[in-house]
């Protein structure tokens, strides 16, 4: 592969799945043997892949990848923590960018849905409350880049990460922008 000049330090990358299906994470893993390159050049911070619970606990995180839209209050809190700690925030996949399939519920009343599903609706304060509408993340925080797709192709992930590691503005190559 083209050797870009090695970073002075390893970049920290965090990932999270909000109202998503982890399909985007699976697609990231689909970069296959390029994962070896990746772990040479980055450290993973909070991520389902590391089981670290808090993003950028000791330091800022260079890159945050957000899968999924916002369907409840906890999603909002997590997203805000990501935005606060990550230098570059990337909306990854259809759900983060548009709300995606979870947003199909947006024309229904979420309170009515809870009523009809649970009968007696759980009211434990530990449980996050769902939002009236599933929201794309750009309506709640500023995003720096977006990687569309359901999921984005593995090659698109790889290109994005390479661009960001090299300090370039990521521009997906033709064919790597897909919405399904």
């Amino acid at each position: 592969m083209n050797a870009s000049s090695p970073s002075p330090r390893k970049l920290r990358v965090a990932t999270v799945s909000l109202a998503g299906c982890f399909g985007c994470h699976m697609s990231l893993l689909d970069i296959d043997e390029r994962l070896f390159d990746l772990v040479e050049r980055v450290d993973f911070d909070r991520s389902p892949l590391t089981d670290i619970k808090t993003v950028g606990e000791h330091d800022r995180c260079d890159i945050g990848l957000v899968e999924g839209g916002l369907c409840n209050a906890e999603n909002v809190e997590v997203l805000r923590a990501f935005r606060a700690r990550c230098t570059v925030l990337v909306a990854v996949g259809a759900c983060a960018i548009t709300g995606g399939l979870p947003a199909l519920r947006n024309h229904l009343d979420v309170g009515d849905i809870m009523q009809s599903v649970y009968g007696r609706v759980p009211d434990d304060p530990e449980l996050p409350l769902p939002l009236n509408r599933v929201l794309p993340i750009h309506e709640v925080v500023r995003i720096d880049h977006a990687l569309p797709g359901c999921p984005p192709p593995a090659d698109a992930f790889w290109q994005l990460l390479q661009d960001l590691m090299a300090g370039r503005t990521p521009v997906p190559a033709p064919g790597l922008i897909r919405y399904d």
Partner: protein, 605 residues
């Protein structure tokens, strides 16, 4: 209430009066609604069947015009004029007062179906506002708390409008400075028959010599438009007077039609002679419905005088008559091709051009559409000569222009000046003090800051369609721009993407800056978005409405950026949505009110 059989009989009488002509659909809907208050779907189906149209087409037309109601309304419908000048005179407080007295919200009808209250776009009574329309027909001017209180009593008592105090319906001309047009035709000038005795070419030549340009806003040379119509292929030609004076803040045409209708009709007749037209229309905006009876009287008198009909003015073979069509509350119909669509009984969607109306206009016939003031000027030019008119004003902007002055000034009303008159002079004459800005030409015109009051109103400097709204230093020009943004979003015809979606997105972004929708505080990010939307709307909409929809935004951001900056103080991006409100449904379902059941919308620092 009228019973169903009477309604059916009335509707059939309306259909018969218009000879079941599908091109009269807008007129038929308007007259039908005058009987039925609103237009239920079965009634639309009846009309569609009678006219050989589809129900969907009729529904589409009925749903296009703001004055047609496809849902129940009260027997008495009160519409508050909602121009910024009405608001500056306290219309919103008065609307709230009336609604409180009546126990209805704006847009709602009371339980007994007696009345409904709502807002409408500018009614052209800015110099004597706040104003309102009753049943789309009479207007009530100079509203104040006492008048609104009395109005509430009448509505609650279900008193017919005919029994309301007559003084409420007074509409004055309010001419403050008259030049040639507002002074009327001089007695020593030739009568119309003598004018019409000239050859069509001679009439056209006089208008060409005068240098007259259209007074509706675009400023197209009148003679060139007429020549193109005259040269276009076709046996039948049409002259249309555009009296759809919808530009907020403009009311000059109202006065010309009220007090100088003969000059307007003279001008139309001269145009017909010059281009070889047989058919004339006055397209009167629905808000000016109260002028209809007197205008019909003038037309009847002119027919009796031989100034309309066959051999007009004694000119053998020159047949020409004028019919009045009413609009039904749609600003975009002021655009000439949308106006023609409306005349043909359709949705007022601007046409694809070419062909231009002068080539293929009403029913495909070559059609001249000119503004009321333009025709009035023609009446004078045809009598006193093109050179006389060309001697007034500047080289590029000949003649006079009438300004509808309203807002923060001691003497609102009509002011006529030669073109080339500096804004500062008009401001001085109307008694404006401590001026911050003037909206010249209405929201689709230009917002001129006081520092540029030395500029002149002329095609080569600040062109104007006739509105002149003054804002003093107590006014918030951000709110002015937001008001106009709502106006354009409300009036978008919905055809093209940038206007249909873009005007709505502008309103939402400005609402965010105004903190009006519960969204987070605004930041520089929101200002960037506004610049972005402004660029899109200025780069290729279908018609002028979309193209000018961001003019107030652009002008006020440039000249009064502080009004925006003070609303965009958040150091970082803030949410577009009210996050706490987004939890309302789940809070209701769970009955929770603990801290975890709430979200701060603003991002914590």
């Amino acid at each position: 209430m009228v019973d169903a059989a009477t309604v059916a009989g009335g509707v059939d009488a309306v259909l018969g009066r218009w000879q079941r002509d599908p091109h009269a659909l807008v007129q038929i809907l308007r007259e039908t609604q005058a009987l039925t208050h609103w237009l239920p779907r079965p009634l639309l189906a009846h009309i569609a069947a009678a006219l050989g149209l589809t129900l969907a087409h009729v529904e589409g037309v009925a749903g296009f015009y703001r004055f047609f109601h496809t849902r129940p309304v009260g027997r008495t419908r009160v519409l508050f004029s909602d121009n910024i000048t009405d608001r500056m005179l306290g219309s919103e407080t008065l609307l709230a007062q009336l609604c409180a007295r009546l126990g209805v919200a704006p847009g709602e009808v009371d339980a007994q179906g007696r009345f409904s209250v709502d807002r409408c776009s500018c009614t052209g009574l800015c110099d004597q506002g706040p104003a309102l329309l009753v049943n789309h027909h009479p207007v009530v001017t100079r509203l104040d708390a006492a008048r609104v209180d009395a109005l509430a009593d009448l509505l609650l008592a279900d008193t017919p409008v005919e029994q309301w105090p007559a003084a409420w319906f007074d509409v004055i001309d309010g001419v403050q400075r008259a030049d040639v047009l507002l002074s009327g035709l001089a007695a020593d000038t030739p009568a119309l028959p003598a004018v019409l005795a000239q050859s069509p070419q001679a009439l056209l030549d006089e208008v060409a010599t005068s240098g007259l340009r259209g007074r509706g806003g675009a400023g197209f040379p009148t003679a060139r438009k007429w020549q193109a119509c005259r040269d276009a292929a076709g046996d039948l030609r049409v002259v249309v007077c555009n009296a759809d004076e919808g530009e907020p803040g403009t009311f000059k045409d109202r006065v010309l039609l009220a007090s100088h209708a003969d000059a307007v009709f003279d001008g139309m007749t001269v145009a017909a002679r010059a281009v070889g037209a047989q058919q004339g229309f006055l397209y009167l905006r629905g808000e000016y419905r109260f002028l209809l009876p007197q205008l019909e009287q003038v037309l009847a008198r002119r027919r009796a005088q031989g100034l309309l009909g066959r051999d007009v003015g004694g000119v053998a073979g020159f047949g020409f008559d004028i019919a009045i069509h009413l609009g039904a509350g749609a600003y975009v119909c002021g655009e000439e091709s949308a106006l023609i669509e409306s005349l043909e009984g359709k949705r007022g969607t601007p046409r694809i051009r070419p062909p231009f109306p002068v080539q293929a206009g009403y029913l495909g016939r070559p059609t001249v559409v000119n503004n009321v003031e333009t025709f009035c000027a023609v009446a004078h030019i045809a009598r006193r000569g093109g050179a006389w008119w060309a001697g007034i004003g500047t080289t590029q902007s000949t003649g006079t222009k009438i300004h509808s002055v309203s807002g923060d000034c001691a003497r609102p009303g009509l002011y006529e000046y030669p073109l080339g008159t500096p804004i500062a002079q008009i401001l001085a004459d109307c008694g404006a003090r401590d001026v911050q800005a003037v909206q010249v030409g209405g929201p689709s015109g230009a917002c001129v800051p006081a520092s540029e009051a030395g500029r002149a109103i002329a095609f080569e400097d600040v062109p104007s369609a006739g509105a002149f709204m003054v804002f003093d230093r107590t006014r918030d020009l951000f709110e002015v721009a937001r008001h106009f943004a709502r106006f354009f979003a409300h009036e978008s015809c919905g055809l093209c993407t940038p206007c249909r979606v873009g005007t709505e997105l502008v309103v939402r972004r400005l609402d965010k800056l105004a903190h009006a929708r519960g969204a987070g505080s605004a930041s520089a990010f929101d200002i960037d978005r506004l610049h972005d939307l402004d660029t899109v709307l200025h780069s290729g909409t279908h018609c002028g409405l979309g193209a000018s929809a961001c003019n107030p935004l652009r002008d006020t951001m440039r000249h009064f950026g502080a009004a925006y900056a003070q609303r965009a103080t958040a150091p970082q991006f803030q949410p577009d949505v009210d996050l706490d409100a987004e939890l309302s449904s789940a809070r209701r379902a769970t009955g929770r009110s603990d801290a975890g059941a709430h979200l701060h919308t603003d991002t914590p620092a």
